[in-house]
């Protein structure tokens, strides 16, 4: 039985999915569990596996296409199975374009008369059936032309695709060129359809491609000469010269939309503490000397945060509708800059992990994040986030809460600073110490200032007395 593959909904906020690539082409066999395609979700690229054995009969979208979730993107069926009805059905859904199935269901009945009009406007696909005359099919077959997914407007009987349509298609899509000319053109990045052939039947010969290559070079040189004068500068309506225009879409848009949603719905409060890392850096040196896994400062901060979260579970909570849910599990998220943007993988059930265990659990997540290969479960379901920009020498910064969490900890760089040190006997002196700013941002709807201050101070104390992180 043919199976319609749909654009999966991989997150609650995912309304559209962008196809990164197909791993299978039409006609390829696919086995259950084999990766079928890769899709860009709201934060990462995910491989989707085939759910059954079969042959890829039809791909509706191409790499780079973005379509609403739940819409059909492919049909997989038996090797000899006739899937034309299933394909036609899916095409109709695609053309209907409804994102949510429930909405399109309702719209279907209302849209019934409109559908008839559509059938007249594009009769080749009327009634969900592609009209191709037997002769056209035969001619197509003789020319090894697959009619699956072909974009043809029929001009034959009742708007069907007739022999002439196939011949026209072949004529307009077939560039006649010698193999050498084809290889040369491919190597030089020249579109064969832009070359006029001088061979028999206008066949494109090696010499034609050579000519095109030299013309292209000449044109490029000429353009380079003229560039300083004419340039290709683009200007905004008010006269600003534009360097580059990039669409606000994909991961960038998801990040942007989520952060503005967070900032506009959750009233943020910020509390900063200065932490003396002298002891912690010493402990870290000893720990790294005592075992193989090299721990980072982030691992200690993570451990301190987890302990603080367990002491103040209000900080480890979410606002779900009208309910404040406090979690026993600490899924600690750590923000990472990935090639496509900011992403926050989280360490599941980190509440009982030691510093070394945290280090071991977080390293592979960071690697995956940087490679854009995180599984969706690895970056959803977090309960609190820490964002460390210490390695970039930042003095102090303010982070926006990663919803639906209620707090985020910003970690700035560690710098040697003069500080007033008070000795046990009450005497004071100025000393140089490695100091680091940490700041917590909290959602004031749930968290009051006192609690937030206690929380961030707790972390400071833990970091300044690092033995407590190891026991």
């Amino acid at each position: 039985m043919a199976e319609v593959i749909i654009m999966p909904k991989l997150g609650f906020n995912m309304n559209t999915g962008k196809l990164v690539e197909w791993y299978k082409n039409e006609g390829d066999t696919v086995a259950k569990g084999e990766p079928l395609f890769s899709v860009e979700t709201d934060k990462t690229n995910m491989d989707i596996e085939a759910t059954g054995d079969g042959v890829v009969k039809k791909l509706f979208i191409s790499a780079g296409d973005e379509i609403p979730v739940t819409l059909p993107i492919a049909v997989v069926g038996g090797a000899d199975e006739d899937v034309s009805a299933v394909v036609a059905d899916a095409m109709e859904r695609l053309q209907g374009g409804g994102a949510a199935p429930t909405a399109s269901e309702e719209a279907k009945e209302e849209a019934a008369p409109e559908k008839e009009e559509k059938a007249e406007a594009k009769p080749a696909a009327a009634g969900g059936m592609l009209k191709i005359t037997p002769r056209a099919r035969r001619v197509a077959a003789e020319n090894d032309l697959s009619l699956e997914g072909i974009e043809l407007v029929g001009t034959g009987w009742q708007g069907g695709i007739c022999e002439q349509d196939i011949l026209d298609y072949l004529a307009s899509n077939k560039v006649k060129a010698t193999p050498v000319a084809q290889a040369m053109a491919a190597a030089e990045g020249i579109d064969l359809s832009t070359i006029t052939g001088t061979g028999v039947n206008s066949k494109i010969m090696k010499a034609d491609v050579e000519k095109a290559v030299s013309e292209k070079k000449a044109a490029a040189e000429k353009a380079a000469e003229e560039a300083p004068e004419t340039g290709e500068a683009k200007f905004s309506p008010d006269g600003k010269e534009i360097l580059e225009e990039v669409p606000y879409a994909g991961v960038r848009k998801v990040i942007g939309d989520r952060l503005s949603e967070s900032k506009f719905t959750a009233p943020h409060l910020y509390f900063t503490q200065k932490v003396n890392l002298e002891k912690l850096l010493e402990v870290r040196k000893q720990v790294n000397g005592a075992q193989d896994k090299k721990t980072s400062v982030t691992d200690y901060i993570a451990r301190a945060t987890i302990i603080a979260l367990q002491k103040y579970p209000e900080m480890n909570s979410s606002l779900v509708g009208d309910t404040i849910v406090k979690y026993k599990s600490v899924n600690l998220g750590i923000a990472v800059a990935s090639p496509t943007g900011l992403i926050v993988p989280n360490i599941k059930d980190s509440q009982n992990m030691s510093v070394v265990e945290l280090s071991k659990a977080s390293s592979p997540l960071f690697e995956k994040a940087r490679a854009g290969k995180l599984a969706i479960s690895e970056y959803t379901g977090g309960t609190f986030t820490i964002s460390n920009l210490g390695m970039f020498g930042i003095e102090n910064f303010t982070a926006i809460i990663n919803p639906p969490e209620v707090g985020i900890l910003s970690i700035s760089s560690t710098k040697d600073e003069p500080v007033v040190v008070t000795a046990a006997d009450g005497s004071q002196e100025i000393a140089i110490k490695p100091m680091m700013n940490i700041q917590v941002s909290v959602d004031h709807r749930l968290i009051d200032g006192l609690l937030a201050a206690q929380f961030v101070t707790e972390i400071k104390n833990l970091l300044e007395n690092p033995i407590s992180l190891l026991v």
Binding site: R135, R138, T155, W157, C162
Partner: protein, 324 residues
């Protein structure tokens, strides 16, 4: 070359055959003294005498039956029915006797007999004298059916009909009788079952019978000016049917129209489209079409009659539905 009418061409065929074979005799209403209702037997009574050219009473069943008997005894009767509609009067003799005797006698007897009669509308002959009976008779095995187009075709095919050792129904078109045609001085018999390509073309095949061949040619002239090249097949005989020529043509053009003047329902067009379907299916670029009479009796009033009759314009219009 000479210019003669279609009726004269038939008369010449009859004359030449009667002169060649003394066993040929003619029976029919007004064929002797009058020279035939449509002047196809002018001068034959004078030339061959009352024994070989016999006027009969208005009794189709009687003289068709007589013809069957004469054929069985070794003569070669050529019977003229004044209108093909009257085949129904003689239907038992035509269908149950003439067509069946070779089979019923186990091949011991044969009926070398020809029935000539006019088909077609256009003379205000009304519903009972305007019909084209080819499909009805074709339903019953045992009779060959000839639907000649031009004068030359009529002459050559009638000779073959008369020489055939089995029954032949020879259907002349009553609107053709007075039309003049250029014709060779000598016309050889034309074999049955071999269609004639009346016009070569690459875009659409029109398989036509009788006067529809000429009407199709007229339409094709007009269509050619618009860049549509029709291939016209003059079928000559419906039984036997030259499917091979039709198939080869449709393989080239991808489209087939059958033009036959009889009523469309259960007509020759339906039969031909189905008969070649197995062979042309994968060559078809459009469904087979028909040009035929609508399924209503033919009226007396010319104002009502002519709009029904398949004309060159109707062939033209039909072809145009394939090239929009």
């Amino acid at each position: 070359m000479k210019e003669i009418t279609y009726a004269q061409a038939i008369c010449e065929a009859l004359d030449e055959e009667m002169e060649r074979d003394d066993n040929i005799v003619m029976l029919g209403e007004d064929i002797g003294f009058i020279g035939g209702n449509f002047k196809c037997t002018v001068g034959l009574l004078e030339k061959y005498g009352d024994l070989r050219v016999k006027d009969t009473p208005i009794s189709e069943q009687g003289f068709v039956g007589m013809g069957v008997g004469m054929a069985l005894t070794g003569l070669r009767p050529v019977i003229e029915l004044m209108f093909s509609d009257f085949l129904l009067v003689a239907a038992d003799q035509v269908i149950n006797q003439m067509a069946k005797i070779r089979y019923m006698s186990g091949g011991q007897a044969n009926v070398p007999m020809t029935i000539r009669c006019p088909i077609g509308a256009g003379r205000s002959s009304a519903a009972q004298h305007s019909q084209s009976m080819q499909a009805m008779v074709a339903q019953f095995p045992g009779t060959k059916i000839v639907v000649p187009s031009t004068a030359r075709e009529a002459k050559g095919l009638l000779k073959t009909a008369i020489r055939d050792d089995d029954p032949v129904l020879f259907l002349e078109h009553k609107m053709e009788y007075n039309k003049k045609y250029q014709i060779d001085d000598d016309v050889e018999p034309i074999p049955f079952g071999k269609a004639r390509i009346a016009r070569e073309g690459k875009d659409i095949t029109i398989a036509a019978t009788s006067s529809m061949v000429m009407k199709s040619e007229e339409a094709a002239e007009k269509l050619a000016k618009e860049g549509i090249e029709c291939e016209i097949i003059d079928l000559r005989t419906i039984v036997p049917l030259d499917t091979e020529t039709i198939i080869e043509s449709v393989k080239k053009t991808g489209k087939l129209i059958v033009a036959d003047e009889a009523h469309e329902r259960c007509g020759i067009g339906a039969e031909i489209a189905a008969a070649v379907a197995d062979d042309i299916f994968y060559y078809l670029d459009a469904p087979c079409g028909r040009v035929a009479n609508p399924n209503v009796p033919l009226p007396f009033s010319p104002a009502l009659e002519f709009p029904l009759i398949p004309s060159a314009d109707k062939v033209y219009d039909k072809v145009k539905t394939y090239f929009k």
